[in-house]
Symmetry: C2
Subunit: 185 residues, 2 copies
DNA sequence: ACCTGAACACCGTTCAAGT
DNA sequence: ACCTGAACACCGTTCAAGT
């Protein structure tokens, strides 16, 4: 005798994302997710293979959100302004969603990684901009340099690693400006 | 009636470091550390407050090792060559000690953070070099830009984030060269 | 003074039994 | 077809009892 479904994969991922944002990856237990969607923990295994699978689905969601954020920021005709806008939007997003940032950019076990095409899509806006600045031949290398710097900077800022004084906002501006000049043809 | 000590804090930290390198932070269980030093798990709590405390002590060790590595690399009179050497030594160290790298540079809970003076000491060689390249006034900002880039690059390399093709070695060289020029006065 | 077994509160996950 | 309680193998940690 069939029982009607009491939850859905969408509800589970949404609840997981909310718990991630609120309490981080360590707070994301199967028990809390189950409680949030109104079932018992074992029922979750009808929709996700295991916790890693759920983490991966949440990471996909987060990647899509970030792609949207970066694309919306990259609206200028001037590539220098665009790079500045993309970097600023990235930082604002990371500072308001620190746990989501870490989920995307800290070490991620193989089976929690986002889909490759989501990865490519999130890089598109930046690649267009670096192609204009550095030329097509150096676009990928230039984009990697910028992303590495931004990831590293935000990771350190979120980790509280800037403990030698100074103004962090100014250090970010300094970095954007120098990086832009560094990759320009 | 006193019982002779069967282990020591040094042995515990050393065993913990070995387990970290071999199996990562998730593999670093109190049970495995205890087995490695020949006691039962509860005995560890005579030497460390809890697991976080042990992780912090291991991180201190790792930071000292990295400082030594970077200092040994920074031997040139030419600051450009020095920056290149420091970056290269950092990358080589990170690629041979990926788990230690993550322990230092991924998100770290407050009570697992290394001692502030170890932090300052590990930055010294780089700060000397960026002061020569960018001038005293911009030395800190320049160092932050370089460290952010290097941390971000290595974090992405270790995470397998460079999935859009291209040569990773070449991207690192490209980055070092561009960064050097970017921060030069 | 140090070490230990037993116990506790938590995990993720499986599975037989219920509807 | 989905949901559940019970169970299992793990965690970190505490503590009374042993030497």
């Amino acid at each position: 005798m069939p029982t009607p479904a009491r939850t859905s994969i969408q509800a589970i991922v949404a609840a997981g994302r909310a718990i991630l944002d609120a309490d981080g990856l360590d707070g994301l237990t199967m028990s809390r997710v189950a409680a949030a969607v109104g079932v018992r923990p074992p029922s979750l295994y009808k929709r996700v293979r295991d916790r890693s699978d759920l983490v991966r689905l949440i990471a996909n969601d987060v990647a899509s959100e970030l792609t949207l954020t970066l694309d919306s920021a990259a609206t200028s005709a001037d590539p220098r302004a665009n790079l500045r806008a993309i970097a600023g939007a990235f930082r604002a997003w990371a500072l308001t969603h620190p746990e989501a940032f870490h989920l995307l950019f800290d070490r991620v076990p193989e089976h929690e990684r986002i889909d490759p095409d989501l990865n490519a899509r999130s890089a598109a806006a930046l690649l267009r901009t670096t192609a204009e600045l550095a030329g097509e031949a150096d676009a990928l290398e230039a984009a990697r340099t910028v992303v590495a710097w931004a990831n590293g900077f935000l990771g350190m800022e979120l980790a509280g690693a800037f403990r030698l004084g100074g103004n962090v906002d100014r250090a970010f501006e300094y970095g954007v400006e120098r990086l832009t000049r560094a990759i320009e043809r």
